[in-house]
């Protein structure tokens, strides 16, 4: 039986799991001094559509947090609420607070949060489509001194040799996966303190997925705090110290990566493992699953 990476338990990738104090209670959040803290965050779109209904999330310094959950749960919205991009989509943090390094940031404009060191890689492969790959990357380093920017560029090419091959290409014409590498590469150029990536593995070939995650592991070694939204739950929980499961705008489950990996529901619905630990074939699923509604 051929197993795709989606089914592979984190084993090979666990070396990054940090030693931050694990908390088994689902309300505790990860330990360590908080770098980012969302408390009771509510988000409304267009002034009427309540999408996040009181979210509490803590990301410690150098920590890594994974957000899981079904489509439409509000994962991307959570990231947008932190980075301030929400404001450009008629969204509003209508209650609660977002704090970064102790200061409130929910009222800041998106570009200001970046200057404080938060970088949000949005979903949808948002490349600067008329610019070349290299121009995209250089633009990504626009806040750094030019020597540092040059260094970062070298480093990025080292991380993504493929991008070096493509440096002169107009980014709008790249393939989906190539664009995905580019947006992550561009984010690295900014050398943020906290990076939030929406579905890093989206559209990447299996080898590239491994690449990306090993890059993320490396980054974790370098003082970078991470929030990732990821459907590749195994890889995500291998990388993260702590995870939150969102559904319908609420956090329905949270805990350390380890505790989540052993949670029965997670095993069944996110890792696709039966009680025996064996994965079922996609071909054999005869009925649509009754979607598990978390009523936390």
């Amino acid at each position: 039986m051929v197993a795709g990476p989606g089914a592979r338990p984190g084993g090979a990738l666990t070396e990054g799991a940090s030693g931050s104090a694990p908390s088994t209670e689902s309300s505790g959040g990860p330990g360590g001094s908080p770098l980012l803290e969302l408390s009771n965050v509510e988000v409304t779109y267009s002034g009427v559509i309540l999408v996040l209904k009181g979210i509490n999330i803590i990301v410690p310094e150098r920590g890594c947090v994974a957000l899981l959950g079904p489509n439409g749960a509000g994962k991307s919205t959570t990231l947008k609420a932190v980075s301030g991009v929400l404001k450009t989509e008629e969204g509003l943090v209508s209650a609660g607070q977002v704090r970064f390094a102790g200061e409130r940031i929910d009222t800041l404009a998106a570009e200001r949060t970046v200057r404080r060191g938060i970088l949000h890689v949005m979903e949808g492969r948002k490349v600067l489509e008329h610019m070349t790959v290299e121009q995209n990357l250089v633009a990504g380093g626009h806040l750094q001194r030019s020597r540092d920017a040059k260094e970062s560029l070298e480093l990025t090419y080292e991380y993504f040799p493929r991008l070096a091959d493509l440096r002169g290409r107009t980014s709008g014409y790249l393939s989906g996966g190539e664009q995905q590498m580019l947006v992550i590469g561009r984010a690295l150029m900014a050398r943020p303190k906290l990076m939030m990536i929406d579905e890093p593995s989206l559209g990447l070939a299996p080898l590239m997925v491994e690449e990306i995650f090993s890059i993320l592991h490396r980054l974790r070694q370098e003082d970078l705090a991470l929030v990732i939204v990821e459907q590749n739950t195994a890889a995500a929980l291998a990388l993260a110290d702590y995870g939150y499961v969102l559904d319908n705008g609420r956090i329905v489950l949270d805990g350390t990566a380890e505790s989540l990996r052993s949670n029965e529901d997670i095993r069944e619905f996110y890792l696709g493992l039966g009680a025996t630990g064996e994965r079922k074939s996609f071909r054999d699923i005869k009925h649509y699953r009754r979607r598990k509604r978390w009523l936390g």
Partner: protein, 294 residues
């Protein structure tokens, strides 16, 4: 033959003037993705500032001119907080439409502040013509032409070589991406309008040198439009060839076609040239091509 050369040369100079006015558009578009319908009005404001600081206040010409440029820059900078601040993040389309409001508003403001009279415009450049043998050229336009070429090179370099230029380019690509990269869309828009106003004022100087100014001068905005499109809305450098093409075409049409058809075909001709070239190159000579990818 001499006549042909004269038509072509005069046309080219006029085209370069259009290019300078169009540079106001392009800079604003290139740095904020806002297509500015009020470009002609900006030229009027610039022109009246020059008139005000020189002839009206009676300051020495170049002092007055310098003050006018500063005034223009300040005026450009305050447009962003007044009009665009709340719109950042909205579709650029609504920003573009706001410029229509701005157009109407500025027209009223100019009328109220400077009045409807036709005012003399100072001779910042000698009005004596330049003559080469049988050919005479308008000195203001000739100097303007040279200035426009140099300026276009400078502004292009600014966009391609400097950090602020790079940031503005990113803003022109996509406001949301720019913000998510830590680039202030607002600041970019503000600077763009500041630059646009200064360019418009310079345009006004070469346009009106030794002539007169009224709020109706705004018409030049729409006359300069084909040049901006032909160049490609993102291309500053392209304005030079585009200006020359449009100007020469118009000059020759006025010289040889208008007398035959007995109407002002030369007024339509630049648009026809523009449409034809756009058919061949849908994003102008040097504009960003639309990326079509699925």
């Amino acid at each position: 033959m001499i006549q042909l050369i004269e038509y072509a040369l005069n046309g080219a100079l006029l085209g370069l003037l259009y290019a300078l006015i169009a540079m106001g558009f392009v800079v604003i578009y290139r740095a904020s993705k806002v297509f500015n319908f009020a470009q002609g009005e900006l030229v009027v404001v610039g022109a009246f500032l020059v008139w005000f600081f020189t002839l009206d206040l009676g300051l020495p010409l170049y002092v007055g001119f310098a003050l006018a440029l500063i005034g223009a820059a300040i005026f450009g900078l305050i447009i962003e907080p007044l009009l665009f601040r709340r719109l950042v993040g909205q579709s650029t389309f609504s920003m573009v439409m706001v410029t229509i409001g701005l157009l109407i508003l500025l027209r009223g403001l100019v009328l109220v502040i400077f009045g409807p009279s036709v005012r003399p415009f100072p001779d910042l450049i000698s009005t004596a013509p330049i003559t080469f043998g049988d050919i005479t050229l308008n000195r203001g336009l000739a100097y303007g032409g040279i200035f426009t070429i140099l300026l276009a090179i400078g502004v292009s370099l600014y966009f391609s070589r400097t950090r602020p230029g790079l940031r503005m380019t990113v803003v022109a690509e996509d406001h949301q991406i720019a913000q998510s990269m830590g680039i202030s869309v607002r600041r970019s828009i503000a600077y763009a309008w500041g630059m646009g106003m200064v360019l418009s004022t310079l345009g006004a100087v070469f346009y009106l040198n030794g002539k007169s100014v009224t709020f109706l001068v705004a018409e030049i905005g729409f006359a300069a439009l084909p040049v901006a499109l032909l160049a490609g809305l993102e291309s500053v450098g392209g304005l030079i060839p585009a200006g020359i093409i449009v100007g020469v075409a118009q000059g020759l049409a006025a010289g040889y076609i208008d007398p035959v058809v007995g109407g002002s075909f030369s007024a339509v001709f630049p648009y026809l040239v523009m449409v034809i070239i756009l058919f061949l190159r849908p994003s102008g000579l040097f504009g960003w091509r639309i990326v079509e990818r699925v």
